[in-house]
Symmetry: C2
């Protein structure tokens, strides 16, 4: 074991301790006025009730799925073979883990992954909800205080997610290799279930939360602002609490589960890729490298986050984004140093090639921060163009917004493509004791992905900062706090919108970079099953009709999945509207302000409807790759002439790879068009759009009304379908990785 | 030469004669009242002015491109090698056509293809514009008369397009093989330029026309109905004539060029696939089969179209769609018979496998007629859902419309996938004298494509019927004809909307089926250049980073291209609005009805702006595959380790194949969401949407206003970007086919 292995538990432990320290720091702060505490309590109860119910449902699904996985893997696999060096290739020896043991271990890994993901989401949420209230209280005193509380609250979630992923993956790896006495080369194949468990929970958490939050938002707005003519966040609207709860369950818990699974799946995938190099070189470093690099990232992030207060100027008119940006630079610089140490110590003479791969990843992360800002922030051309088009009504607002959204896919695709090609080329130049250039090239893309994700905890902290400040604003409004406090929460909210958009760009970029690594892991699994050397190539031929049709179905899947997700928001929103209307009708005292609406009932109805609505897209996501694989394996393959038996896994490979491409592009469109519409509305509200005669076209004008239409359309795009697509593309990778034997006829 | 070869000139000649007979029948009919003739004259002049200017611009582009192609192909190719039988494989002999001769022949073929496409569009347009007027005149007498005139006018365009494609491809094939003494096996490779020329013109015709028609439509509506408060098609609106001109240049000329290039490119691609089988079997039948099958299709269509009047009930309340459907069934049944004769006579003992492939194609065509109707006609769930969502405003209308549009990709992808897999499997079972199953399988997909396109002339006639009746309605309104005539044109217009939607579904399905055939032709070209046997496989490995990144760029290309196309409509629409406003301002007599607006100026300004706007997306479409191929060939390949030289053509293959998948899916979304929004508006206008209390929500209600927003958003989707994407995916095939040598390092 290399010395640096010890860094893994140290960094993981440090992250947990740091998160605990942050949590108790937030919790001991002033929870605000009694009114604030009252509404804060309602949000807390609503959020916890939803999460309990949601995770309860997910737990049942997950347990059933774990049993199925165990039975399927146990039934169709023929055990895990030892991986040995044969003629300079990573080839196979005898079976070392029997098929039913493999099934059992995969099922258990699935449950552990699912449980860790649930835990990370739950704890992060708990602290976030508590932080909302304390941020609202702090906003009555000063901006700096409010920033500190909200950022620390967000950081708890960020660090717990990263620590749980690091400790979870390395822990189960340690147990499945050292403790159970399996060779380290096969352990990564045994823990793939962990990644699937994490994606499984993430999919449902992101879907359920995303549907809940936007349905509550759209429903509350339509029934309150539009129908009843009362302001946003007005206490007379029974849906207001549901709306505030939604921000927490969608943005905090959902995004946390999303990044948890990204990091876990990518770690495991990279470890699998490392196996081939380990077998040839005999150095375990290649397998544990991803975990070590992640550990350096965690330490860099702790320092970077702690540095933010030093960059904050008390009482000045400093943009709150500025210290956050400086903190990110600190993380980036320290990450480069950590990357240098990790590659130099673990990767032998050719280390510098992989160092440059990691640099490519770090630069890609930074590039996406800027690309996203350009397309969704009000200071640049795209948002201005949409605001301008709003002058001729909602139709032109939507047309130009769609055009802008389509356009944003260009830079995204070019940046991801350049990162993939350059990291592959850099990696392939590394001369590692006769390992084929193709294998080190793929590992180079894995290093780039790992390099980019070193700053994940920081990004996640900034992301959770968004809903915390958003909620703090709601609490401030709802509890009738003074204007000055509202002003502070408003300025934080604007920053929160930017950081939320950044996280999505970052998530898309990491999904794109990781795509290649993850389906290389799938191909390694297929090679293992087919008995082909891990260091050899295995072409997925697009001119093969099975691959091509799989690819067509993959792109279709991301469109159909988005359709279901978007439509769910409409359906659940309808349920809320009906309930609020009923309350207004049954108790006229609500409108008069003499009696309180039944918030809890509105929260409960939304929760039930959202959970029902997450089932259809969830089942589609899990079911379609499986059904495609089975149909091609058992029906199409039989219809082919001769002894063609590869249809199953080939069609799945096409679906996985091209579905990932489609998912990245479609998610980019959905996220960025939604963000741009939102900010075009804000741009007009800020009074920056004028008509031809130079009159300001602010709130209350038809131009603003047109922009509101765009904003509403963008909501389910950017907060439900887009983020759910990030999870979908990774779920495709993990599900196919775990169930690969099912699609392979032998 | 098999006897059936003679069918080709016979069918081509019959189609031309039939078209001429129809044309003179239409032209000798009553051209209506003097008012009608006046407005008809203006439309005629405007349309011809635009077309002259447009084809003038395209001619310059095309000539330059032809020279470049000639120089590039001549410069980089090393001549065309003879194709001979070696060890049972279709392999190569010596060079039979020198490189500069190849360049010259390719450049000439490009120009001939471009000229034929231009001619087809021009003549079809000419007759359509004349038919508009005569349909309006006939509508003053009877429905049956109006149907006859408009359908015959549309049929002229349909038959000319099909005949020009058939005679053009077979003519240039005859010249390049028999006349110049080249072996028939290499002639198909020499005429690929014809397909590229056709796509080139189609792209610009579809883009220019699509932008023109929707910009004029949106501009006329916004400045007339919304700003000035005057009715649609009111003579005081200077943009009205431009709007009427737009229907002709977009829907007639654009769609004609689109289908012309589909048929030409697919014929040539299928002939190239036939070469491999010809070389092994020595039977020229495999090369000319596509042309013979097309000839049977033409004859079937002449009978089918002539049968329509027999199904039309004079004076009854028959739905005008009914006789058209019966006519389509006649064409389908006769096509099956023709398919049987062609396969039985030309394909030897295993003919029935290919017969079934053709049946798959014919069934796919029929399936798409129903799928499109389900998603875009008012009688089914999707349109009703959108109409329902309009009750809560434009935002929910757009959200649900988008969800419906995304959903429509599912059946489309499944139907295309099933057709591809089944025709491939059927074809691969055909035992053709030792030709590999893979080769006959690919040929099976080609036969399916050909089978589907047998009815192309009929579909095109129905399509052109749409804009003719639409324009006849405009002329009727504009010239102040009696209410009863307007009623007849309205009922025809509704049918025209359906037939236009059907054509788009048909075009997408044919693009999907043809995709496989066309890039198999690209791979054959690459094999020829690399010296690999035509009957061997050549994997396009998706796990190769160059292919994967090419694929990512391909999907991005279709989004970026759509962005540019959609945005152009907004820009050009703005130019029209400004001009109409200026005319209202400068001459108050226009609004008072005492002086006539300057229609010609509005037409001219729209034309100039539309032509400028078509350049950017056109250059992107042509430039991106070329730039990608060059960058990967010269930069990326050099950076790879070792002797990797395949990056160029592999990246292009990824871009082509996955770009095609993305294009099919995105076009389906754009076409169907647009159609569904349009019909949701019509559904509400027909008084079929009620509120909860059962009150009808017709014109003038906020629900209708919300539906109008959706309709306006859908316009550039379904009439500009969607149809342009059909052309784009085929242009990708033809451009890569012609320029393949440029991307291959040897």
């Amino acid at each position: 074991m290399p010395v640096l292995t010890w860094l893994i538990p140290i960094a993981g432990g440090a992250a947990v301790l740091y998160a605990l320290w942050l949590a108790q720091d937030v919790l001991r702060r002033d929870p605000g006025t009694p009114q604030m505490q009252e509404i804060g309590g309602m949000i807390f109860e609503g959020a916890m009730a939803f999460l309990t119910r949601q995770y309860g449902t997910i737990a049942i699904f997950a347990t059933i799925t774990a049993v199925i996985i165990g039975l399927v893997v146990g039934g169709v696999s023929d055990g895990v073979k030892e991986i040995v060096l044969k003629d300079g290739q990573a080839d196979y020896g005898g079976v070392v883990v029997g098929q039913w043991t493999e099934g059992l271990m995969t099922g258990i890994a699935f449950l552990v992954g699912a449980a860790c993901s649930g835990l990370a989401g739950f704890i992060g949420m708990y602290i976030s909800v508590k932080s909302n209230l304390r941020t609202a209280a702090a906003a009555q005193r000063s901006l700096k205080d409010a920033i500190t509380v909200s950022l620390r609250g967000g950081a708890v979630s960020g660090f717990l997610v990263v620590a749980l992923s690091l400790l979870g993956v390395s822990g189960i790896f340690a147990v499945y290799s050292n403790l159970l006495g399996n060779p380290p080369a096969i352990a990564p194949f045994l823990i793939v279930g962990f990644g699937f468990g994490a994606s499984f929970v993430a999919l449902f958490a992101q879907l359920g939360g995303g549907i809940y939050t936007k349905a509550a938002d759209v429903g509350a707005d339509l029934v309150g602002k539009v129908e009843a003519g009362i302001p946003e966040d007005d206490p007379r609207n029974a849906a207001v609490v549901a709306d505030l709860v939604g921000d927490n369950v969608g943005d905090c818990a959902g995004r946390g589960a999303d990044l948890f699974e990204s990091m876990s799946a990518e770690n495991i995938g990279a470890m699998i890729l490392g196996v081939a190099i380990y077998t040839v070189t005999g150095k375990i470093e290649w397998i544990i490298f991803p975990l070590v690099l992640r550990s350096f990232g965690v330490l860099a992030t702790i320092v970077g986050l702690s540095s933010v207060p030093f960059f904050t100027r008390e009482g000045s008119s400093q943009n709150p984004m500025t210290p956050l940006n400086y903190g990110f630079y600190v993380v980036s610089v320290l990450s480069v140093i950590g990357l240098g140490i990790a590659t130099k110590s673990l990767m032998g003479d050719a280390w510098y090639w992989f160092f440059f791969c990691g640099i490519v990843g770090i630069l890609t992360g930074i590039a996406f921060v800027y690309i996203t800002q350009y397309y969704t922030a009000g200071s640049w051309r795209p948002v201005k163009e949409i605001a301008d088009a709003s002058r001729t009504g909602p139709a032109t607002n939507i047309i130009i917004g769609t055009a802008v959204g389509f356009e944003t896919t260009a830079l995204t695709a070019v940046a991801i493509g350049a990162a993939l090609v350059s990291s592959f080329i850099l990696g392939s130049h590394a001369d590692v004791q006769g390992v084929p250039a193709f294998t080190t090239g793929i590992f180079g893309t894995a290093v780039a992905t790992m390099g980019m994700l070193m700053s994940a905890a920081y990004i996640l902290a900034m992301d959770t900062f968004g809903p915390i400040t958003d909620n703090a604003g709601g609490i401030t409004e709802f509890s009738g706090a003074p204007e000055s406090a509202r002003h502070i929460t408003d300025s934080l909210d604007a920053v929160g919108n930017t950081t939320k958009a950044l996280t999505k760009g970052y998530a898309v970029a990491s999904a794109g970079l990781a795509a290649f690594l993850l389906f290389s892991a799938y191909l390694d699994k297929v090679k293992e099953r087919l008995g082909r050397p891990l260091t050899g190539e295995l072409p997925i031929d697009l001119s093969n009709v099975d691959v091509f049709v799989g690819a067509l179905l993959g792109v279709m899947l991301v469109f159909l999945f988005s359709s279901l997700a978007i439509r769910s928001v409409g359906k659940v929103g309808g349920a809320i509207i009906e309930e609020v209307r009923r309350q207004f009708r049954d108790d006229p005292g609500i409108m008069a302000g003499t009696s309180r609406p039944n918030y809890a009932r509105a929260v409960d109805i939304t929760a039930r409807a959202a959970l029902r609505a997450m089932v259809a897209p969830g089942v589609l996501a899990v079911g379609m790759p499986v059904v495609t694989g089975l149909v091609f394996r058992y029906v199409v393959a039989d219809l082919h002439t001769g002894d063609v038996k590869d249809s199953g896994w080939l069609a799945v490979a096409g679906l996985l790879m091209v579905g990932t491409i489609g998912g990245i592009i479609l998610a980019t469109f959905l996220n960025n068009s939604g963000g741009a519409w939102d900010n075009a509305k804000k741009y007009i509200e800020a009074g920056e759009q004028t008509d031809e005669a130079g009159h300001v076209l602010g709130k209350g004008t038809p131009t603003h009304a047109a922009a509101v239409v765009g904003d509403t359309v963008g909501d389910p795009f950017k907060d439900t379908a887009g983020p759910a697509l990030h999870v979908l593309v990774k779920l495709l990778s993990t599900i196919t990785l775990v169930l690969a034997p099912l699609f392979i006829a032998t």
